[in-house]
Amino acid sequence: MFWDGFLVTASVSALSIVGSFLIGVIVAFGAVSRRPFLRKAARGYIGLFRNIPFIVQVFFFYFGLPEIGVYIDAFTTGTMALSIAVGAYAADVLRSGIENVDTGVIEAAEVSGLSRFKIYRRIILPIALRVSLRPLGSVFINLVLTTSILSTITLNELTGNAKIVASDTFRPFEVYFFLLLFYCVLTYLLSLLINLWHRRLNRFMRGAE
């Protein structure tokens, strides 16, 4: 039972991390685009989803989508809502990473004849990613914690399952306390992973000026 919940939490988290990252990259590039319309739209996106509670967003989709004839399960709705919402946070982190890439480095790439797309993909994005990895890590750790909210739309991930176990066993304190500890361990492991990755990706910083 616990294991089932863990698998749901893990898969929703993994899928949403990928989804929010992709959305984050796209929106971040929109936010630094030269086209005023794209900039406005991207910055509006970031502002909108960061200033509305996730639970409200998730209810909007969960109850709203069937009204327009889209019937998807709680798992899919949750993954989608998480990707969209966390995408806004990821975009903001990446935007500031991109804006902080040294313009001189970008100019060097430009005059060497690399295409705009190649400059983004080979120069700007990798550099922005490396400096954004830690803040991005906290965004994703928060994502994992946020998956618990999906229990309110009947998804039986860790928290949803714990609710059932708590009422079956009449031992809510032990169950929720253990669950909190488990989330702590989970996020701690995740942060270790991110640190490791950060160190790997930033080995070029060793001995930097």
């Binding site: 639970i55 409200v56 209810f59 928290t159 708590a166 809510p172 304190f173 669950l179």
Partner: protein
């Protein structure tokens, strides 16, 4: 009960929910700030036992879902201690603890950012530790911490929405009630979402103004 339209009572319900959300937010923010600063001071003055224990609790709160914390307090604690806790009490208690954990981190790093030399100078002039804290550390730390505090406040405002899950009739719960009655999810959740959005922006704007005022004040003081 399905498909009943909105009625004249709904705006009042909305306003009540709004009041509860803002009330819980304000209460937990104020209490949390006081406790958070207390934790930070224990840490800064290296109070034995208390400091590490508080720090562990604060880490625990930061790294676990608030929703589960709410469940623990509302469902778990009454069974364990054989006491009665109302949803509102559980909500304020939990969010206060949560806010305190984050405030402590912000306060510690703001205090760390203050130049050590200044403090030593003040001590050498024989100022009491209390007055150093009040007159030198606190005002500077506040300015340094403002951006982080604004971010935290906006975030904690969103977090209050979770208290709907333990039955507090806040703005989100009002949304659920209206959603179930009218079955107009797009309208209901858009209104609720927009309300939170405006609240957040107002909060951020107010924080921003406070920050500029504090900074100006500091400039006058010649710091």
């Amino acid at each position: 009960m399905r498909n009943q339209g909105f009625n004249w009572h709904d705006p009042i319900l909305w306003a009540q929910g709004l009041g509860v959300s803002v009330g819980v937010f304000a209460a937990s923010m104020i209490l949390g700030t006081v406790i958070g600063i207390f934790i930070a001071l224990c840490r800064v003055y290296k109070v034995p036992v208390v400091a590490p224990v508080l720090l562990v609790i604060s880490e625990f709160l930061k790294n676990s879902p608030v929703l589960v914390q709410l469940f623990l307090v509302f469902f778990g604690v009454p069974v364990l201690l054989q006491v009665n806790i109302t949803p509102a009490e559980a909500a304020i208690f939990t969010l206060t603890g949560n806010t305190a954990a984050f405030i402590a981190v912000i306060a510690i790093s703001a205090i760390d950012a203050i130049d050590r030399g200044q403090l030593e100078a003040a001590r050498s002039f024989g100022h009491s530790e209390r007055s150093i804290l009040r007159k030198i550390i606190a005002p500077q730390a506040l300015v340094v911490a403002m951006p982080a505090l604004i971010g935290l406040a906006v975030n904690q405002l969103q977090v209050t929405s979770l208290i709907s899950a333990i039955g507090v009739i806040d703005l989100t719960k009002v949304g659920q009630i209206l959603n179930q009655r009218t079955w107009q999810p797009f309208i209901v959740w858009t209104i609720i979402g927009v309300t939170y959005f405006i609240l957040s922006r107002l909060l951020a704007a107010a924080g921003g103004r406070l920050e500029t005022r504090l900074r100006r004040h500091m400039d006058w003081a010649g710091l």
